[in-house]
């Protein structure tokens, strides 16, 4: 080959090689050096994390499996305006179904937005009607809405769940994390409408609902309790009230009702009330317990061994403690009384004598051991600790508290704390933790069973039996209206004044009664508390008859036989 062409060929070849080298270098830059950047960019454009399944919130059932809170289907009506071809036709079709102006919908559909929410939530029926129309560019997206089939039944116990799926108050609030569903997410290629593109076989993930809660609550008992509470509030002109039913052997809550209550299905309607009735008064509202608290004072005194039920003291009708003069509300005095009489006759002077006789250290040690001044630990949202001022508290403590606290004045408790303390007496002196959830079932099949948890052996079984017998005598000799034929009932009334700024309310009282039975094997304990009754200020006229009616029915429906009988079968007529 001639020299000229060879040189030219070399030149061209060199140019080509140089060009290729540049391309290779650029390729190396893109593929190797900047590999991660470009790969990330590419993935970002075609892959995204989307929620492909939104399982429902966990359900709540009563002890027999009846549904108290579940999830129902609602829909969100959305549009991708770009894909809507017949804007007017779609607006005309949607308007009447959604009860919205056609012009408004048409304006949204003509907008430049990539996505428009037309209505949410809409009912299942409406959503399905719209889906059946098959309108192009319109999406009918399913949503979950919390449903409470029993409406207002046990509303304070259950609480409610808002539209964002967050639980508030009651069990919904306390177990919100456990009730939350586990969303199924997908990370992979998606189309412009964020729909999954099946380029690969995605792992099959089954949707997992939130945990299922089985309560200790019995809906039949709850319904009866609510009926009786409504009746009592109406009959005695009370402003409100609370009834708690518990099994003193396990401290399981069988029913808990307060008025005013609400319908959790329509919780947003109740926000306008002042205050909204969402808080559970049984665990969140404090009151001065009054004479019911004498059970604690007498139990403490007997347990120390300082006195026996037969120990006598001279009651002159008044006593001065820390500068405060304490009198008996019944006006009794001027003679000897026994320690038993302090409960039977509800003697304030005797209770104050016992607490001063014990000394503050011993007395308050028992008060705290019975669970006052701290939350009971019940699994309900919003529980408050109550108020018990101790001698070391130089800000709030007053020496007269030693006397007034003995009969339940100058301190504040929740109804649940009070029934827990008396249930301790019914349970041979052992205080357990009250609870509302019996079982929690996870979607993976793991079952958590809530067993009775002993908090403290507050008093000896012997003392508990002595106090129980005195409480039985109280009912048999002094509060006969609480008796239920065939059943030995132990109980104590409490008529408490209501503290207001500067002293106590002159008119209103809080009437309460706590009773349990059948003695000697108590299976039920009931607290009835009525606020500011109009017909009578005394618990014996209001709370006691309510207890009696309720206990009679509950013994019947719970198949609890009369005291000391062996039952072959029961016949109702």
């Amino acid at each position: 080959m001639a020299e000229g062409p060879r040189r030219r060929l070399k030149l061209v070849a060199t140019m080509l090689i140089g060009l290729v080298a540049m391309l290779v270098a650029q390729l190396a830059q893109v593929q190797i050096v900047d590999h991660e950047f470009y790969e990330g960019w590419a993935i970002e454009q075609r892959e995204r994390t989307i929620v492909i399944a939104d399982p429902p919130r966990g359900v709540i059932r009563d002890r027999d499996g009846h549904l108290l809170a579940g999830s129902e289907v609602m829909y969100s009506i959305e549009a991708d305006p770009v894909y809507v071809v017949d804007t007017t036709g779609v607006a005309v079709a949607l308007g009447p179904l959604l009860h919205m102006p056609v012009t408004q919908i048409e304006r949204w559909l003509r907008s430049d937005a990539l996505w428009v929410q037309i209505a949410s939530p809409v009912s299942k029926e409406t959503g399905e009607q719209i889906a059946d129309l098959g309108l192009q560019g319109i999406k009918v997206k399913p949503l979950w809405a919390r449903a409470y089939p029993e409406n207002s039944l046990a509303s304070h116990v259950i609480g409610f769940c808002n539209v964002q799926g967050r639980g508030f108050y009651g069990v919904e609030g306390f177990y919100d994390a456990e009730l939350q569903p586990k969303q199924v997410e997908y990370r992979g290629p998606v189309d412009p409408a964020s729909e999954q593109v099946p380029w690969t076989v995605a792992p099959v993930v089954l949707p997992k609902a939130g945990d299922e809660l089985i309560l200790t609550l019995d809906r039949t008992v709850q319904a009866l309790v609510e009926d009786e509470l409504i009746r009592a509030v109406q009959e005695y002109g009370a402003q409100g009230g609370t009834i708690i039913v518990m099994d003193p052997r396990t401290f399981e809550l069988l029913a808990m009702a307060s008025l005013p209550n609400y319908d959790p299905d329509r919780y947003s309607d109740f926000y306008v009330l002042a205050p909204p009735p969402f808080e559970n008064p049984a665990v969140s509202k404090l009151y001065e317990p009054g004479s019911v608290f004498k059970v604690v004072t007498v139990a403490a005194a007997l347990d120390t061994g300082l006195v026996t039920p037969e120990t006598t003291y001279y009651d002159q009708g008044w006593i001065e403690v820390g500068g405060a003069t304490i009198t008996n509300s019944s006006g009794e005095g001027g003679r000897d009384f026994t320690v038993s009489d302090i409960l039977i006759h509800s003697l304030n002077v005797g209770a104050a004598w016992l607490s001063t006789h014990m000394g503050p250290d011993t007395f308050y040690r028992y008060v705290l051991a019975f669970g006052f001044g701290r939350p009971t630990g019940v699994d309900l949202a919003g529980e408050v600790p109550g108020q018990v001022w101790l001698p070391g508290d130089y800000v709030h403590w007053h020496d007269s508290n030693r006397g007034t606290n003995a009969f339940g004045q100058g301190m504040a408790v929740t109804p649940l704390q009070m029934i827990t303390a008396v249930a301790t007496v019914a349970n041979d002196g052992a205080r357990l933790r009250p609870h509302i959830v019996a079982r929690r079932n996870t979607p993976d099949g793991v079952v958590y069973t809530c067993r009775p948890m002993v908090e403290a052996q507050v008093i000896s079984p012997r003392t508990a039996h002595m106090v129980t017998e005195i409480m039985v005598r109280t009912v048999e000799e002094h509060v006969r209206r609480a008796q239920v034929a065939g059943y030995r009932i132990a109980g104590k009334t409490g008529t408490a004044q209501i503290p207001v700024p500067g002293g106590y309310d002159k008119e209103g009282t809080i009437a309460s009664f706590i009773g349990f039975g059948p003695v000697p094997d108590p299976q039920l304990i009931i607290l009835v508390k009525l606020d500011r009754t109009k017909t009578s200020p005394w618990a014996s006229d209001t709370a006691v008859p309510t207890f009696q009616r309720l206990a009679s029915q509950l013994f019947m429906i719970l198949d609890i036989p009369p005291s000391g009988t062996e039952v072959a079968e029961a016949v109702t007529r």
Binding site: L67, V73, V204, A223
Partner: protein, 109 residues
């Protein structure tokens, strides 16, 4: 461009392009193998996509059934709620039992 090519190649002797049978065989075999591999790959990808789509549809159906199931449970619970049962019982003329009679065990029973 032809001028440029002529400028580059003029004076270079054109050779005859010849291949022996063995080379041809290798080439054809390679093409066939590549085609088979490509076909198999396409088949695999399309089957994967189809399977993925099927699973996706099954999941959609599963979620739909779960929604139906939850809805039915709520509907049933509403029908069997205490208030509804009471209404129906009252309509049938039923009322709460007023007295419970216990039969006491006697000897021999």
């Amino acid at each position: 461009m032809p001028d440029f090519m002529q400028w580059v190649t003029h004076g270079i002797k054109r050779g005859r392009f010849e291949m022996d049978r063995r080379t041809v065989l290798c080439l054809v075999t390679s093409v066939i193998v590549l085609t088979l591999v490509a076909t198999f790959y396409l088949l695999l990808v399309s089957r994967t996509a189809a399977r993925g789509r099927h699973i996706q549809q099954l999941q959609v159906e599963l979620f739909r059934l779960q929604r139906e199931n939850e809805q039915l449970e709520v509907d049933i619970a509403r029908e069997g709620s205490v208030a509804r049962l009471r209404e129906r019982a009252e309509a049938l003329g039923l009322g709460p039992a007023e007295q419970l009679e216990f039969l006491y065990l006697t000897e021999g029973h």
